[in-house]
């Protein structure tokens, strides 16, 4: 191990799983509450940026997106990257948020055959991944068909 202090390294391994505790912790605003950035020129970004892609200005101010949007396109996966096996089959999508940016995310609470381009969706906070039986539970945004207020 480089530079000593390995006993206190919070990114140590448990059962072969890299915990990445600080890395996941750092992302909680984006993952839990969809916090992106907004530029003085009006351009909004997700994920957050330092430099505005439109006018190249900084600084960018944090902004929390409401989480409603429209499905631009989607795919249902039958082969998952390592760590997502338990969710197969699951659907992922690019979503045009109502406030501007497009976001890539997993869909939830919807059957693959019911997903359509143009479908209205809303953000929910779900388990993204579990680091095995002993590691972190990583929570973050997913999107689902909008649930109305009354029957």
């Amino acid at each position: 191990m480089y530079g000593g202090n390995c006993c206190h390294n919070n990114n140590s391994h448990i059962g072969g799983v890299n915990l990445e505790i600080s890395r996941n912790w750092r992302l909680r605003n984006q993952r839990y509450r969809l916090v992106g950035t907004e530029c003085g020129c009006g351009h909004r970004s997700f994920p957050p940026r330092r430099i505005c892609p439109t006018c190249r200005e900084n600084p960018q101010n944090p902004v929390q997106f409401s989480g409603t949007g429209t499905v631009y396109s989607y795919s249902t996966l039958y082969e998952a990257p390592e760590g997502f096996e338990q969710f197969i089959p699951y659907t992922v999508a690019l979503i045009d948020l109502d406030e501007g940016p497009m976001i890539s995310a997993q869909l939830t609470d919807v059957d693959p055959e019911d997903v359509a381009i143009g479908m209205r969706v809303e953000m929910v906070t779900r388990k993204l991944k579990e680091q095995g039986e002993s590691g972190l539970i990583v929570y973050g945004y997913k999107f689902r068909p909008i649930v109305g207020c009354y029957p």
């Binding site: 082969e79 890539s104 991944k129």
Partner: protein, 380 residues
């Protein structure tokens, strides 16, 4: 700057090389390339590789491979740009020869993917994405291209069957390539009947998980004692947003457009001069969108070129002439060097049954969802 030529090429067959180590894969193609060039002193080795750290637990390939090849003490480094690693290494090699720092440079691409299981490979390939925002949501590289495929069809650009024609063309061309993995023809029907990998991409539209290595030897033109040397006249890298979601139109590969334009301008060529185009056909939609972004097709009409036969060996702009990612196989970081080796064989008139009448070839490899595109123009 000095003019750079590719003086030697070497490929090993793309396969599941269970019996061969990463260093030995590289050694075999390097040995062939060096012997093809007829050179005996190598100044530098550039290695294009994406996944050795993740899949083989081995970084520091520069020292590892130069040591194994007996290149005592030379400059040797690994270059990484996801699936564009091979193209990136080729450009580094060409630059070091062009500027006069090195005379004889070996560029090798090597990838070993079959030592681990599929889910690990899928996760590894997805490291080319923005892992904190894409892979963290379970989104793989294939998933993003599947999303683009669905949108492309949704916008009325083509039918799913039109897209499958890119695979039909690639496998047909691979029959004539001794180094290709899938050397048999395939029908649209067979492809469409295969299971979904990432809906709407079928399993038979995906490149295989495989191992491979290809190498080239670069020399300054003035020191190459060759009759009709293949010159590198254009070389360009362009990047786009790491996330395909952050582009004004996800169906426009701006990095393909930009690197193509820069490379052609550097070579003093136009699209009409290009006799064949080795594009990065990771999935059919990538081929269609690359044809559009590079200007060979209008927007929305890339797949029509497959339907019209324009991409065949006898077509207007042949692509994947030796099988491409789909059929030659896609040993990720080696892909750009396989493309270079194949283009050299075409330009030397050594491409056997797949030989094209040609003088100018364009090769292009891509990292992630076109976040990096590297284009080279080769000519005789």
């Amino acid at each position: 700057m000095r003019e750079v030529v590719i003086a030697g090429v070497g490929q090993i067959a793309v396969r599941e090389h269970w019996e061969t180590s990463l260093r030995d894969l590289a050694y075999q193609s390097i040995k062939k390339a060096v012997s093809d060039a007829g050179t005996d002193s190598v100044d530098a080795l550039y290695i294009g590789n994406m996944l050795a750290g993740e899949l083989s637990g081995q970084e520091h390939l520069g020292a590892l491979i130069s040591d194994y090849c007996g290149f005592d003490g030379i400059e040797a480094v690994r270059i990484e740009a996801a699936a564009a690693s091979g193209g990136a290494a080729l450009r580094q090699g060409a630059m070091s020869v062009a500027c006069g720092l090195n005379d004889c440079v070996v560029v090798t691409g090597v990838e070993q993917m079959t030592d681990v299981l599929q889910d690990k490979v899928t996760a590894g390939l997805s490291l080319a994405l923005d892992t904190e925002y894409e892979l963290a949501s379970g989104i793989s590289l294939a998933a993003l291209f599947a999303i683009l495929t669905r949108r492309y069809v949704h916008e009325g650009c083509c039918s799913p069957e039109d897209l499958a024609l890119f695979c039909v063309n690639a496998q047909k061309n691979a029959v004539g390539n001794d180094y290709a993995m899938f050397r048999r023809e395939i029908t649209v029907d067979t492809i469409m009947r295969s299971p979904m990998a990432a809906d709407p991409i079928h399993v038979l539209e995906c490149p295989p998980v495989c191992d491979g290595s290809a190498s080239v030897v670069l020399l300054p033109a003035e020191k190459a004692d060759l009759e009709a040397p293949v010159k590198i006249t254009g070389s360009a890298v362009a990047t786009g947003t790491i996330g395909v979601n952050n582009r004004p139109d996800p169906l426009v590969f701006e990095s393909v457009r930009d690197s193509t334009e820069k490379a052609l301008r550097m070579a003093g060529k136009t699209r009409e001069d290009v006799d064949f185009y080795e594009l990065h056909d990771l999935f059919p939609v990538v081929a269609a969108l690359s044809l559009e972004a590079s200007g060979f097709a209008k927007k929305g009409e890339g797949a029509l070129m497959a339907r019209n036969g324009d991409i065949a060996l006898e077509g207007k702009i042949p692509i994947t002439t030796m099988g491409g990612c789909k059929a030659r196989g896609n040993p990720v970081g080696a892909c750009g060097i396989y493309q270079a080796a194949e283009a050299v064989l075409q330009l030397r008139q050594q491409a056997g049954k797949n030989q094209l009448p040609c003088e100018v070839g364009m090769i292009q490899c891509m990292g992630g969802t076109a976040a990096t595109t590297i284009t080279h123009i080769l000519e005789v």
